[in-house]
Symmetry: C2
Subunit: 298 residues, 2 copies
Amino acid sequence: MAKLVECIPNFSEGQRPEVIQQILAVIEGVEGVKLLDHSSDQSHNRSVVTFVGEPQAVKTAAFLAAEKAKALINMEEHQGEHPRMGATDVIPFVPIAGVTMEECVELARELGREIGEKLQIPVYLYEAAATRPERKSLPNVRKGEFEGMKESIHLPERQPDFGPARVHPTAGATAVGARPPLIAYNINLSTSDVNIAKAIAKAIRGSSGGYPSIKALGVMLEDRNVAQVTINVCNFREVPLHRVFEAVKTEASRYGVIITGSEIVGLVPMEALLDAAGFYLRLENFQRGQVLETRLSE
Amino acid sequence: MAKLVECIPNFSEGQRPEVIQQILAVIEGVEGVKLLDHSSDQSHNRSVVTFVGEPQAVKTAAFLAAEKAKALINMEEHQGEHPRMGATDVIPFVPIAGVTMEECVELARELGREIGEKLQIPVYLYEAAATRPERKSLPNVRKGEFEGMKESIHLPERQPDFGPARVHPTAGATAVGARPPLIAYNINLSTSDVNIAKAIAKAIRGSSGGYPSIKALGVMLEDRNVAQVTINVCNFREVPLHRVFEAVKTEASRYGVIITGSEIVGLVPMEALLDAAGFYLRLENFQRGQVLETRLSE
């Protein structure tokens, strides 16, 4: 299978479709890049775009998109509920197939340097690409947002990794990074007691002592009268889907509750589901290349 | 995802590599066709070729391969342990993605007509493409083999579906059909008693009253001193992998035996593993298109 990297840039524009269309057009214009999804949020005034392709093609598309966003978006005029610091706010690279996290970190460095030098926008490397521990966290990087960073960017601890140490007057600043694929995974319980879902979420999530790469909340599906554990699996190679499922099943059993179903929201890498099949079928010596469909793009 | 059909023709030549190379060359020469595998057996004097692609491209490649085999293989000179009736002995089409069994049956009919008319080779439609119930079974179609069929082909019940009612003097006769993907699946037990594996195989296979689409035997893995149930899952949409696994697990428990592992031999359609993941994770509303990799060939 070919090398495959996913890129999910976020742009500070969610109200003018014609702006997003122009950004999508430059991405789609790059040979070897496939646009998978895009969505805009009016109140966040923000758009999220998902595309995949070979590493260099994906980097080229990300640069052209940042260049176009710089030309079309003025942060002085931007208002929205979501925290943001730049016209192109954040660009994560995600290894999907045949690519290591280290290669995505290198890709983030190359793109960061290019945006910094050619577009004169300050760039911060974050998550797996971070050059300082506190910059692994995107909220730390974005602290103060566009307006506040104008005052703080000259401080030593706020020096960008690439580009000038001043916020670009219209395009702001951009975070570029690398992270594992995120899987949005929800598990429904045989109860309408949301407190049970909350207790289970607390047991498994990193913020309360569970798996560091798991985020979880207990919520109520009002229309179905069902309590749900809604989960972000932030590193499925570290904590795979089956381990999340089995942990929720075990915690639920303490209340006499069972799992009635689960749901994957949006896209999921094939490997995450092959891993689950392999776990439950106790597969030995299984190679990804045995999946017929993977042979086609070799 | 694009329409994807697999084709696994068998040729009556397993000793002259140069003949197989010429057949492979015409297959690989067809735009949109991907050669996945080929293997030759000396004592069977037979070769099996696997390729995939869009339906019409796959049909074209199958016709060109049959034409080449007719030119290079003389059944009057062919000897081998495996039953056979033609230079191109059998051509099954298998629906893999975005294609129904009915479309593969239609593809088999089109190819059968073309081989019958243009190559003047008698063609029998078999399995899902069969025009008579007794022709669903390939051994019935091949009864008497190349030599015997010269005498029997004029009988009303032996009339071919396409082509002349006489065995071609050098190329013999060909069976063309459609069938589901076959998955070779082995399950290892926590015992060295092969009789337990045999009893479990008997419980699940169609020939002794189990699932009609399951073939199974109990065998001994001498090098590991492990008893194994070796299985052909002939229709995974009818009897999926998880049902086979759970049936073996249940039968084994009666002997105090557990499943220590399982193994998929060769290729497997992605859908078979997604189905297993979906079963064990109790996935609701899962769409194949949520698998990131399936979006790439859209």
